[in-house]
């Protein structure tokens, strides 16, 4: 039986308070450090940041996002902290929310010397953010359920009657890279055709899940024959030896192309450690880190046209400008909400 003695209770509380205060003091003390918020999976980003720590001696305090928060977590936090920022650097796994943060006045301009070789279309004209690395929107298929000649080759194949609708899946197109993909289709095809594609998907009765990783899991366990997801999710399953295959859709002549989503990195306006932040940005934009992320499986495409990165697989990308995609986000998200959340 649990026995609480009053004689021990007050001293225990006192001790707890002392420990808490010591912790407050410890955590609040300024050090040679840099604070980074990143939406890149902790499994991939943490080793990169640890290596930076080792090379520079600058302590990295990282905050990772969670898919459960639908990427609203970090972005909302950065906006809420705008007047008293805690972060120095924002490393995003995509670009649309980085652009949003620029609009909200959260970012500061910084053109890194490490950005050499990165095409202008993947950098902000005013220098508020820089793109690097690339993930693609891919179709992951279950090899036990589909033979090679049955593999979908285009996102439009997901509408074909030969695939049972309850065996095709996507993530909710109001969040994350699926939202970006929807906006990209709006930008490339026009809003009417873009909307029509998703309306057709919804009317077919395809399955819609709470994230790209869930789509991956459903394909892996056979609940789906094919699903739309990102390269990092797909590669994780491939490398584990699951019975799946990753396909880049719409690669044929005249095809739409595959949406390539670059990572983006930006300096936070009013950062407490701006010089350390710039050092970290320079490091993240280096070719070495790009290669490291490819080897780790976070990205597998390069947007650089020179150096070692150029030897990575060539994928035909969608012919859309990042800025145009961003401009379609509001409308596409609102319409996706009405189509899929009912």
């Amino acid at each position: 039986m649990l026995k609480i003695k009053i004689k021990l209770l007050l001293p225990s509380l006192l001790l707890l308070a002392i420990v808490a205060m010591l912790l407050v003091n410890q955590l609040g003390r300024a050090k040679n450090e840099v604070v980074i918020y990143t939406s890149v999976d902790q499994v991939f980003s943490e080793p990169v940041l640890k290596e930076f720590e080792k090379q520079t001696g600058i302590k990295v305090l990282a905050l990772y996002d969670s898919e459960a928060a639908k990427t609203t977590g970090l972005v909302n936090r950065l906006i809420a902290e705008r007047d008293a920022p805690k972060a120095d650097v924002f490393w995003n796994g995509e670009f649309a929310q980085t652009m949003l943060l620029k609009e909200k006045g959260v970012l500061a301009a910084y053109k890194s010397p490490s950005a050499e070789g990165i095409p202008a279309q993947y950098t902000d004209a005013d220098g508020f953010w820089t793109g690097f690395g690339g993930r693609a929107r891919v179709i992951l298929v279950n090899k036990n359920l589909l033979s090679a000649d049955q593999y979908p080759k285009s996102i439009y194949d997901l509408l074909k009657l030969e695939y049972a609708p309850d065996k095709i899946g996507i993530a909710y197109p109001m969040f994350g890279t699926t939202a970006t993909h929807a906006a990209a289709l709006y930008a490339d095809l026009g809003s009417d055709k873009g909307r029509e594609f998703f309306e057709d998907l919804s009317q077919r009765g395809i399955k819609v899940y709470d994230g790209n990783s869930v789509v991956r899991d459903m394909v892996v366990n056979g609940q789906l024959a094919a699903g739309l997801t990102d390269t990092d999710d797909a590669l994780g399953a491939v490398e584990k030896g699951e019975p799946v295959e990753m396909l880049f859709p719409d690669q044929e002549e005249g095809g739409l192309g595959t949406l390539i989503v670059p990572n983006t990195v930006a300096l936070i306006s009013g950062a407490n450690h701006p010089e350390a932040g710039k050092q970290l940005i320079d490091y993240l934009l280096s070719s070495d880190v790009e290669k490291e992320l490819v080897d780790a499986g976070w990205t597998n495409l390069s947007i650089r046209k020179s150096g070692e990165a150029a030897s990575m697989p060539e994928v035909k990308g969608m012919k859309v400008n990042l800025e145009d995609i961003y401009k379609q986000m509001d409308q596409s998200k609102e319409e996706m909400q009405k189509i899929f959340v009912r």
Binding site: A20, A80, Y172, A179, K333
Partner: protein, 538 residues
């Protein structure tokens, strides 16, 4: 005014103003995010965003989502409470040491994230379907309201069972004995035990309803769209907290009748102080139907624990993997433990103030209770956003990058739980002991330290352990306010889940399960034995 209320009021020789101040402080703390969001919304409206009004009135699509959410949550609450009551009734009658030990098992999975429950059940059902397919039988559908309600019920069963058991344990053994002299066990169970335990049943059902209403992770896995997903979708669209808050209003309004239900239930509960040794209670003979239903509920409860537990063990792989994950996560484990202990301590303090006030008459106390229960109906990320904004606006210097914001997030989110547990304990306190101590005490503080707090101590531990478990599993608000460089186990679970490190996720969930088991066991032991130190009058 009933004699026991008068006695309790007269014992507590702190003047009414002091008590009211304490309750108002607790209410303000709990309602702080709502108040801030409301202020933010009004500011946006008057700054020139009249389109906000359109979010006040749900359109047909949103009404359908809301109706579906209410229906699913209601079904989860009713089914969960039914299973919880039946399981608890069995445990209530099982008075041996083995029976007491088994009770702890039911709390073990309380802190495992709902999404992990959902994935575990999905894996289990996929496996079962493969067997059914092989046997030529119809497969179980893995989408729709049915499976959604089932998994929701499984996730919340520890809470509903625990509260039902608290209700049963609060029934005076003497009443049961007296009833058994004249009538059979079934009649005594239906006419005496169930009505007296009803307030706890209502509380458990209301808890389950509100928690289920706020969750979209389980429904989305089973292809069911619910209203809380609409809130997140809207928030993700333009990061406008005002719009998200307005969309949350229907859920917020549902907390008000729930709060009123709580107040009615507890104010009208019988004098619940149990004295006497439960072991002396006459054994009741239960009707066959009830025994069969209890068996069914026990089977469900067994599945509730075993499915995620077995799934987690299989996914973890080896004990070495578990050890490696434990060693690589010691920082997150330490941070989670400290955060949860601090949140539990502060929540219990304010919960005691709130519960003491609830036990008093007065409209102001009823209104305060509505505010205290508001955190149930606000999505966790909105709580975090409000807290972050509020903290920045008051310039809480010296606390930047510290643990205190996530601690406050835990306090605000789970203060209602602590308050309700403590209210149940306060209502069980013998007013004659309190009155006797008031005569002997040197001053109010002396009486508090020597009598009141010791009598309440088990409840303090129970409420503290419950908040500990819930704070350890909290994600939505915590990740908005956690200092960079730190993280909780739950944050790590979700981060790794996205990556697909299912073995690491499973190992972390097993660690959470063990922590939950320890804390839940302590809480339950404290609750059940809260009257044993003060038998007075025997």
């Amino acid at each position: 005014m009933k004699i026991h209320d008068k006695l309790k009021c007269s014992y507590f020789n702190i003047n009414e103003a002091g008590m009211l101040a304490g309750v108002l402080l607790a209410a303000f703390l709990a309602a702080f995010p709502v108040l801030l969001l409301l202020a933010d919304t009004l500011q946006s409206f008057f700054a020139g965003s009249p389109d906000l009004v359109t979010f006040l009135v749900p359109d047909e699509r949103r009404l359908q989502l809301l109706a579906r959410s209410m229906g699913i949550s209601g079904a989860v609450a009713i089914c969960g409470m039914a299973a919880g009551i039946l399981t608890a009734s069995f445990l209530f009658a099982w008075k041996s040491k083995a029976g007491l030990a088994v009770r702890y098992v039911f709390f073990a999975t309380a802190a495992v994230p709902p999404y992990v429950h959902a994935l575990s059940w999905t894996s289990a059902l996929v496996w079962l379907n493969s067997l059914l397919r092989g046997s030529g039988l119809a497969e179980i559908t893995l989408q729709g309201n049915g499976i959604c309600i089932w998994v929701g019920m499984m996730t919340l069963l520890p809470i509903t069972t625990g509260l039902a058991l608290v209700g049963f344990e609060s029934v005076e053994p003497g009443l049961i004995e007296a009833g058994c002299i004249f009538k059979g066990g079934g009649r005594v169970f239906g006419s005496i035990i169930m009505p007296l335990a009803a307030p706890s049943f209502l509380a458990g059902g209301a808890f389950a309803f509100l928690i289920s209403l706020m969750d979209y992770t389980i429904p989305s896995l089973f292809q069911v769209n619910v209203y809380s997903l609409e809130i997140f979708a809207q928030y993700s669209a333009d990061y406008d907290a005002a719009k998200a808050f307005l969309l949350s209003l229907p859920l917020l309004l549902s907390a008000i009748p729930t709060a009123m239900l709580f107040q009615w239930a507890f104010r009208n509960a019988a004098l619940l102080n149990t004295r006497g040794d439960r072991k002396n209670t006459i054994e009741m003979e239960m009707p066959v139907v009830l025994i069969l239903l209890q068996g069914l509920a026990l089977g469900i409860s067994f599945l509730q624990f075993s499915v995620p537990f077995i799934s987690l063990i299989i996914s973890t792989g080896t004990p070495l993997k578990l050890m490696n994950v434990f060693l690589s996560s010691y920082h997150e484990i330490g941070f989670s433990m400290l955060l949860s202990v601090l949140a539990a301590t502060i929540a219990v303090f304010f919960g005691t103030l709130a519960a003491s006030g609830m036990n008093r008459k007065g409209r102001i106390y009823k209104i305060c209770w509505i505010f205290i229960l508001l955190p149930f109906a606000i999505p966790a990320p909105l709580t975090g956003i409000a807290l972050a904004k509020g903290w920045n606006s008051i310039g809480a210097y010296g606390t930047r990058g510290t643990i205190w914001l996530p601690v406050m997030a835990g306090v605000i989110r789970f203060l209602p739980f602590a308050a309700l547990i403590l209210l149940a304990i306060i209502k069980r306190m013998d007013p004659r002991l309190l009155e006797a101590s008031r005569i002997q005490q040197k001053n109010t503080l002396h009486g508090l330290v020597k009598v009141y707090i010791p009598m309440l101590s088990k409840g303090l531990v129970a409420a503290g352990c419950l908040v500990f478990i819930l704070a350890a599993g909290e994600l939505g608000a915590t990740m908005i306010v956690t200092p960079p460089g730190s993280g909780t186990i739950t944050m790590k679970i979700y981060n790794y889940m996205h990556y697909g490190a299912s073995d690491s996720v499973a190992a972390l969930c097993l660690i959470m399960l063990v922590l939950s088991l320890i804390a839940g066991s302590a809480a339950f032991t404290a609750l059940i034995h809260s009257e044993k130190g003060f038998k007075g009058g025997d």
